[in-house]
């Protein structure tokens, strides 16, 4: 499944990184601890988090993640969006909580 299909099915708003909408998604990882993501997430996963600063994109890029989903309507910092566009890693937003959006994404991908 692509990031774009997930965006459509979960009614996510795309905020940046449109170039990466065709990225393939293999799964997801949910965490607000950066070292946890660094150590345990894997390439092509979607990262679900409330962190909204530029380091999120640095990690997403280093780990070759497919996209980042910001929960509870959290808005990314300007420089986070800048790096999302540069790297072509989509940043998507939802009004849902981490619990709800993770449940829905799990259903889609399983």
């Amino acid at each position: 499944m692509t990031v774009n299909e997930i965006k459509e099915r979960l009614s996510l708003t795309i905020l940046g990184g449109q170039k990466g909408l065709n990225n393939q998604v293999s799964g997801g990882y949910v965490s607000d601890l950066l070292s946890d993501v660094m150590g345990n997430a894997d390439a092509a996963q979607v990262w679900i988090t409330l962190q909204t600063h530029k380091n999120v994109m640095a990690i997403a890029s280093l780990k070759d993640l497919a996209a980042v989903i910001l929960i509870n309507n959290h808005q990314p910092d300007e420089d986070m969006l800048g790096q999302s566009n540069e790297e072509g890693i989509p940043v998507l937003a939802t009004s849902l909580s981490a619990f709800e959006v993770t449940g829905k994404l799990y259903e889609l991908l399983k």
Partner: protein, 138 residues
């Protein structure tokens, strides 16, 4: 091949830059993706530790056909008890740093788990040296 990168303590906007350059270089050299992934985790955590805990630092990268050696030398407070610092969950990070999602105390354990060889030495009130070695054919 030899490369050097400077790290500025406290400047989180540039954290991960050197790790990203090292990753690109290894990809160009067609190093095994699994080795690159483990190098990225180790190097990023060591780089962030200089940003989060020290004043300034330098990364020295040496690369040949068999291995990459990444040494991080910083000027900073040093680590009084390395065994304690290596424990999963131990962190002296400030609350501002924790709010960003850093400071979970998982950095040094992540390095230990991912590096083929990992050496750390430190002198209080002077600085810390981290040496990460990754072998290409393993």
């Amino acid at each position: 091949m030899h490369f050097e990168y400077q790290i500025e303590g406290g400047n989180f906007t540039r954290a991960g830059f050197a790790s990203s350059e090292i990753k690109k270089m290894m990809k160009q050299l067609n190093v095994d993706m699994g080795v690159i992934k483990r190098t990225v985790v180790s190097t990023y955590e060591a780089e962030v530790n200089v940003v989060a805990h020290a004043f300034s630092g330098t990364i020295y990268v040496d690369l040949d056909e068999e291995k990459i050696v990444i040494q991080l030398q910083d000027q900073g407070p040093g680590i009084p008890d390395i065994d304690q610092a290596m424990k999963e969950g131990f962190s002296t990070a400030s609350s501002a740093v924790r709010e960003m999602g850093f400071g979970a105390g998982m950095g040094l354990p992540n390095i230990k788990r991912n590096a083929d060889d990992f050496q750390i030495t430190s002198e209080v009130n002077k600085g810390t040296n981290v040496k990460i070695t990754m072998f290409f054919n393993k």
